[in-house]
């Protein structure tokens, strides 16, 4: 600290530079864990070491040459001391810095509040206290000149000591013996040698953060880096942190964020970002301490922008980054999240506690990110091990730190092995000697011959051969002894060897086990990591969206699905020239469907702005390959798959499933969705996979291959690939980085399960969930598996006692379900509307929104082009309102404006006689090339092409329409632009017999070109924009759909609808009846006409594609002709949309509608002239009660219907308007003032009296939920 207390001197700049650089690098290092940052540090150390070495050499040289005089000896000692000091300080520096870093990391890890300011100071402090090293080095560089001049050793030593201790305090004028040498100068020199300072200054002058070299098309890395150093220098130089922050904010954030954009998160840009992040975080800390909210908010605003930049880039740039960098980004993300959460903490004071929820989320997210980081780190280590082909224990041991070895290698084996190695080397050394001796004794002559020295000795007679021999025999004895001892040693060694071998064997086994474990671990952890990372990204993504929604600079109403046109519909407003499209969003069809299966909502989808601008097409296959961790060979053909699905794959899959489930378990733990701690034993059981199978998930236009798993409470689908690849899907898409690979559904949310056909195999299953979504699975190719899964789901589903509208009917056949639910009867009795009934029939016959080849089919209801002008519209409405007799209905004269389509004929039979004739000719002329059965029509009434044709103006269908036409729309003349034109085609062309889709009766927006797609201009020169409607619709699609719906629900159509049902779903679908009514299509479209298992493999793909593109006929639901609806009732009018099925509107001609209820809890505060009272009908099985809630109390009444039966006129005695009579129940009044638990009187807020009184009756009046009290309490009474 003492160094920092001093004002930082200008002359100290060089040192400062280096130090700031170090600090910057460390700070960066802390945030961005790249190894490059270490380099600087090590370079610094290396310089120190180099200098020390030089000094040592110099001393040695001086000593060798004897040039040292006594007077200089002390100098030498000093030098030596310095060298040792250098080493010491180096070591200290290292440990100190590492220590600090460790602390920092710990602090991050244990989530203590980060005080960057202090930490930063600490690092700086450590560094500064060791800065003299540099000075010594510098001084040493000018040592030679000094050598001779050293006069008085004592004084010098003192000075040097002084220098060591407080170099910086005396910065400008250090005196080192005789000559005045400025250490700063040398320090500068050193820095100058590196050329850093100059560049630093020149960079500063250029006033541009990062210069772009246009010639090289490259960013200057060094200046950028130096700039970060500068920012830290600023930080240290500014006496006032406020100035520093404001300075930073002024340009640096802006520049850096620009840099981030342009540079696409280059490592230096990233570093800058992180540095500035840290700096600004100091600022936040500072301002929060000072409670300067305004300033804090300013900083926050800048930070927010920066974060968003980083985040956005992080989201979209990941593909270009290597693993390491991704990791860095994760760390940045952690900080972002941490920051956001802390920010929220700061912001939340009194009122904003509603944000507490979000904070929870943020903290959770931060947790997860941190976990994912740790996991990825772990993963990396393991992959490194894995990648090293290490089979030997040694490598493993050396790779791991010794402290960790015992965890997976027994000490025993380790020691044994080491011992064995030692002995072995020992033995090899000794055995050489022994063998040499033995050879010498046995083959003396040969040796003599070989050994020239011996030869000479013998020849010169210096050695007698005999004597030598005796000597040698003597020696031989000794050798024998030796040999014996060696033998002993050998045998001993052999036993040891055996032992060692045994040990080794065991060790090897152990290693193998370890490796297998490790592989397993690696596999699991990569999958886990991938999953968790995706989960994290998903959460981060949603959090960001939420963050954008709630506040900040992204509070865009569009994000909350806001669409609004505040003027009544005018055709001109939607003209091509006038219509303004939303710049950010496209309208797409929301997959949500209502209980009547219509899809009325549009959703907004963000245009791919980011992607277009910032993401280059990446063809890095490696990256993708890495992602394809779940790939189990799904790109193989179906046939191959079929072969091994039951045996090998299933086994694998089960293993795989267990792994994934463990992940799922952890994921739930993270999400806090555990079912509760008390049943921990059960929880393990819950996550156990009961059933798993590879399957296909059909969603919109894409087919995902994956794995379906069932646990006790959940249904889980895991995709195999990041990229879907199935030749039957219209669009093959890549998952976004934040898309989950795993989707989980709760079993207790299942409403219904229906069987489906997929490519004429009965292997599909559609599961409907609460909340209006469904899941379409294809379990090809085994039909028995579908049954198995279906039964399993049904049995599991029944175990939930909790109420849900799941039908209790156990049948798995759609036809039986239809019968059991009594839909036909209900329709005939008028309880279901025609639209609803047709949708139900569609559903049960296997039509689905997920499969375009089996999209819902609806009839044309009018003959469109027969219009007589707009003025007749009122007549049209009247027509629908009129109650007609049966004769009227079937007479032809009733319709003044449009002809109703004859619903008893298929579209093919509707046109001219010549057209029908051509169809008949086709039917009668045999096809010589194939043995296909005869058919009337070469095309179908519903196929993917037709659906895409109709819905081309809405996403995602326009995308799909482009996809089937190789990326652009079809020719303008062939698009869907006029309803009349399409109808004419469908009744006049011989290749077109199309019917409609439910959207014609439920979604007006699909007729408008809201996305302003450019469909081109027709040959007649007219631009294709909105769909041209028949004249009677007044150009208003809302009116058109309204009328369409009206006509569909009218009595005329109700009575003739059964004929159409016969054609499409019923008896006239196939067989002789079909032939009679000209209703035979190509045989491939029918159920049970094709056995794909018998088709040769090479034809399979072709036939499947043909089936998919041709369209499929619905399953046959009725074998007998459909019954007629019941006779026209004067009173029972058709279905009611009140939220209650039991309410029926009894309606007489020319009279007001009245409500009657027999079992309801619906608020119905009407008819009464009470001031500020609400009236509730109370659900009750036997008595008819009503509650009147006024300002002071709740009173109960019984009521009776004075109308005796629906057929009679109400007796109008007292009150002609009311067919009810009332009696007050006495003694049951409930006053509003309740005493709470602590005896506190709850007071009513008078505000609620002007509204309806917030009251709710539950469980037949047993429980009352009351609101309207001060303080927001809700009372259960």
């Amino acid at each position: 600290m003492k160094f920092l207390d001093q004002p930082i001197d200008q002359t100290n700049k060089g040192v400062m530079d280096l130090a700031t650089k170090l600090v910057a690098s460390f700070m960066a290092n802390m945030i961005v864990k790249t190894s490059e940052d270490h380099k600087i540090f090590y370079r610094f150390l290396a310089i120190c070491e180099k200098k020390a070495m030089k000094q040592q050499e110099r001393i040695k040289d001086l000593k060798d040459l004897g040039a040292l005089q006594d007077a200089n000896l002390e100098g030498v000692a000093l030098l030596e001391a310095m060298v040792s000091k250098i080493h010491q300080t180096r070591a200290k520096l290292l440990t100190a810095v590492l220590d600090t870093l460790q602390k920092m990391e710990d602090q991050v890890r244990f989530e203590q509040p980060l005080n960057f300011h202090n930490l930063h100071l600490r690092v700086v402090n450590y560094l500064f206290s060791y800065i003299p090293i540099v000075d010594i080095d510098a001084r040493n560089s000018i040592e030679p000149e000094e050598e001779g001049a050293i006069g008085t050793p004592g004084s010098k030593r003192k000075e040097v000591k002084f220098n060591f201790q407080s170099r910086a305090t005396e910065a400008p004028s250090p005196k080192i013996s005789g000559k005045e040498v400025s250490p700063q100068l040398s320090a500068y020199r050193m820095v100058e040698n590196e050329g850093l300072l100059d560049r630093c200054y020149s960079f500063e002058r250029s006033k541009d953060f990062a210069r772009y070299d246009e010639k090289r098309e490259k960013w200057h890395d060094e200046p950028v880096f130096l700039a970060t150093c500068r920012s830290f220098e600023y930080y240290m130089r500014y006496p006032n942190i406020e100035e520093f922050i404001s300075d930073l904010m002024k340009d640096k954030v802006r520049v850096s964020s620009e840099l981030l954009y342009r540079n696409k998160l280059d490592k230096f840009g990233k570093r800058i970002a992180s540095n500035i992040l840290v700096a600004l975080l100091f600022g936040i800390d500072f301002y929060t301490e000072k409670r300067n909210v305004q300033k804090m908010k300013e900083v926050l605003a800048y930070l927010e922008r920066l974060f968003y930049n980083v985040f956005a880039l992080n989201e979209y740039e990941r593909r270009n980054l290597t693993k390491k960098k991704i990791k860095c980004l994760d760390v940045i993300l952690i900080f972002i999240m941490f920051f956001l959460s802390s920010r929220k903490k700061a912001m939340v004071e009194k009122k904003d506690e509603s944000l507490a929820e979000m904070i929870e989320l943020l903290v959770k997210c931060k947790d997860r990110l941190w976990r994912s980081l740790l996991l990825s780190l772990k993963c990396k280590i393991e992959s490194m091990i894995h990648g090293k082909e290490s089979s030997s224990l040694f490598k493993l041991i050396t790779f791991r730190s010794p402290a960790k070895v015992p965890t997976f290698v027994d000490d025993f084996f380790f020691n044994k092995y080491a011992l064995f190695l030692e002995k072995k080397s020992d033995f090899i050394k000794n055995i050489d000697k022994y063998y040499v001796a033995e050879n010498f004794f046995q083959n003396f002559d040969q040796i003599v011959e070989k050994n020239e020295n011996l030869k000479i000795l013998i020849e010169t007679g210096l050695i007698n051969k005999e004597t030598n021999r005796s000597e040698l025999t003597f020696r031989g004895e000794t050798i024998n002894e030796l040999k014996k001892s060696v033998g002993d040693e050998l045998s001993r060694f052999n036993t040891r060897k055996k032992l060692a071998q045994k040990c080794r064997g065991e060790l090897e086994e152990k290693i193998k086990e370890m490796q297998a474990d490790m592989e397993e671990n690696l596999m699991t952890s990569t999958i886990n990591a991938e999953m968790i990372q995706r989960e994290c990204r998903y959460t981060a993504h949603t959090i960001l969206q939420k963050e954008r929604d709630v506040n900040g600079m992204w509070a865009d109403p569009n994000l909350r699905n806001h669409i609004q046109w505040n003027n009544p519909f005018k055709k001109e407003d939607y003209d091509w020239e006038v219509l303004q499209t939303n710049p950010y969003y496209k309208y797409e069809l929301n997959p949500w469907f209502s209980h009547k299966y219509s899809r009325p909502f549009l959703a907004l989808r963000l245009k791919k702005y980011w992607k277009d601008n910032f993401l280059e097409k990446d063809t890095d296959e490696k990256e993708n390959a890495e992602m394809n961790i779940f790939d189990r060979g799904s790109n193989k053909t179906r046939k191959n798959k079929k072969k091994y699905v039951p045996t090998k794959l299933r086994r694998n899959v089960k293993l795989f499933a267990q792994r994934i489930l463990s992940t799922a378990g952890t994921a739930y733990k993270m999400l806090g969705q555990e079912p509760g701690k008390d049943d921990e034993e059960g929880s393990q059981d819950e996550f156990r996979v009961i059933y798993s199978r590879s399957c296909e998930l059909l969603s919109r236009f894409t087919i995902y291959n994956g794995l379906i798993m069932v646990t006790k409470k959940r249904l889980i689908f895991c995709t195999d690939n990041i990229r879907s690849k199935n030749y039957l899907s219209i669009l093959n898409v890549d998952l976004e980085k934040h898309d989950k690979v795993k989707e989980v559904w709760n079993l207790n949310e299942i409403i219904e399960i229906q069987r489906r056909r997929v490519v004429q195999r009965k292997t599909g299953l559609e599961i409907f969930f609460l909340g209006g979504y469904s899941l379409f699975l294809n379990l090809a190719p085994d039909e028995a598996d579908v049954q198995e899964l279906h039964d399993l789901l049904m049995s599991l589903r029944e175990s939930f006692a909790f109420y849900s509208p799941f039908s209790k009917i156990r049948s798995t056949r759609n036809v039986k379900l239809l019968e059991a639910n009594r839909y036909t009867e209900r329709w005939m009795a008028g309880e279901l509307s025609n639209f609803h009934y047709l949708m139900i029939l569609n559903n049960y016959s296997g039509r689905s929104y997920h499969d375009l080849s089996q999209y819902h089919v609806f009839p044309w209801i009018t003959i469109m082009y027969k219009t007589k002008g707009e003025e007749h519209c009122a007549e049209a409405e009247n027509l629908c309102d009129r109650d007609l007799t049966e004769e009227e209905i079937f007479s032809e004269e009733i319709n003044p404006i449009f002809d109703l389509r004859n619903l008893s004929k298929p579209m093919g039979a509707l046109g001219s006689a010549s057209r029908l004739k051509s169809f008949l000719e086709r039917f009668q002329s045999p096809d010589h090339f194939s043995n296909a059965p005869a058919y009337h029509y070469g095309s179908h009434y519903s196929s993917p092409a037709i659906i895409l044709h109709y819905l081309i103006r809405l996403e995602p269908f326009s995308e799909g329409a482009k996809a089937i036409q190789n990326g652009h729309f079809d020719l303008p003349d062939r698009l869907f632009f006029s309803i009349n034109h399409t109808f004419r085609n469908a009744t006049e062309e011989t290749s077109d017999v199309r019917e409609l889709t439910p959207e014609f009766y439920s979604l007006p927006e699909f007729l408008l070109n809201l996305n302003r797609e450019d469909f081109g201009v027709t040959q007649t020169g007219e631009r294709i924009n909105n769909v041209w409607l028949p004249r009677w619709a007044q150009g208003n699609p809302y009116y058109f759909v309204y009328l369409q719906s009206k006509i569909l629900e009218s009595q005329i159509s109700t009575f003739s609808l059964k004929n159409w049902i016969d054609l499409i779903f019923g008896s006239k679908q196939t067989g002789e009846e079909a032939e009679k009514s000209f209703n035979l299509f190509y045989h491939l479209t029918y159920e049970d006409q094709l056995n794909l298992d018998e088709v040769a493999e090479k034809d399979l793909q072709g036939i499947e594609t043909q089936v998919v593109h041709f369209g499929q006929t619905p399953s046959k639901l009725f074998s007998k002709p459909h019954p007629s609806p019941s006779s026209l009732s004067q009173f029972k009018v058709r279905s009611v949309n009140l939220p209650h099925d039991n309410i029926q509107i009894y309606r007489k001609k020319n009279s007001q509608a009245q409500l009657e209820s027999n079992n309801s809890a619906v608020e119905c505060n009407s008819y009464f002239d009470y001031l500020s009272c609400s009236i509730y009908l109370i659900a009750s099985s036997n008595s008819k009660k009503i509650a009147i809630v006024s300002g002071t109390s709740i009173q109960f009444y019984t009521w009776e219907l004075t109308v005796k039966s629906p057929g009679e006129r109400p007796e109008e005695e007292d009150d002609p308007g009311l067919p009810f009579s009332f009696n007050r129940i006495k003694g049951k009044e409930i006053p509003h003032d309740f005493y709470a638990e602590q005896g506190v009187l709850r007071e009513r807020d008078p505000f609620v009296q002007s509204l309806s009184h917030p009251t709710c009756f539950l469980e037949e009046n047993k429980t009352l939920i009351l609101g309207g009290y001060y303080g927001g309490a809700v009372l259960a009474v």
């Binding site: 699905n561 609004q564 209980h595 909340g771 509608a1153 638990e1237 009372l1275």
Partner: protein
């Protein structure tokens, strides 16, 4: 029969203005004066918090539950209407009163196409919008104040059952 408070739920900060429950008593939705809207799940008369909506800044005046389709529409004093999926919590649509007046009563219907009807006391008008944001009709209610609305459908057309006091 004496009524006693057996449970008190303290989640809202300010006075609860609206309480609605669906017919099957699976859900209960409460809205408060400061604009918080909480969806509760009901089990045997006991409420547990499912989620809350914090999109509003002023008092919630009416909530409409379209039970069979699991939708709810919430109207507030700031003139904002939200259509929310009660299961997935997804905000299906946001609409505003064209003049920013309060939305006092509202109704949602999905037949034949989705439409939303709301009444504002401040200008005494009924507005009907397509669920996708297109205004369909606007009508002033003369001299009377609407206190309850229901949308009913018979076989032929869509009737607004409006009663006033």
């Amino acid at each position: 029969l004496e009524r006693k408070v057996f449970k008190e739920y303290q989640q809202h900060k300010e006075t609860v203005t609206v309480i609605k429950a669906d017919r099957q008593e699976n859900f209960c939705v409460t809205g408060s004066q400061e604009g918080q809207c909480i969806v509760w799940t009901v089990k045997e008369g006991d409420l547990t918090k499912k989620f809350s909506l914090t999109d509003f800044e002023s008092a919630i005046l009416d909530i409409f539950l379209l039970e069979e389709s699991y939708l709810m529409a919430v109207g507030s004093a700031e003139g904002k209407v939200l259509v929310v999926n009660m299961y997935t919590r997804e905000v299906m649509r946001t609409l505003h009163h064209p003049q920013g007046f309060s939305v006092n009563k509202l109704c949602l219907s999905l037949q034949p196409f989705g439409s939303l009807l709301f009444y504002s006391e401040m200008d005494g008008s009924l507005y009907s919008y397509s669920v996708n944001g297109q205004m369909l009709k606007h009508k002033k209610v003369k001299g009377k104040k609407v206190i309850c609305m229901q949308v009913g459908i018979d076989s032929k057309n869509q009737d607004f059952v409006v009663s006033s006091s």
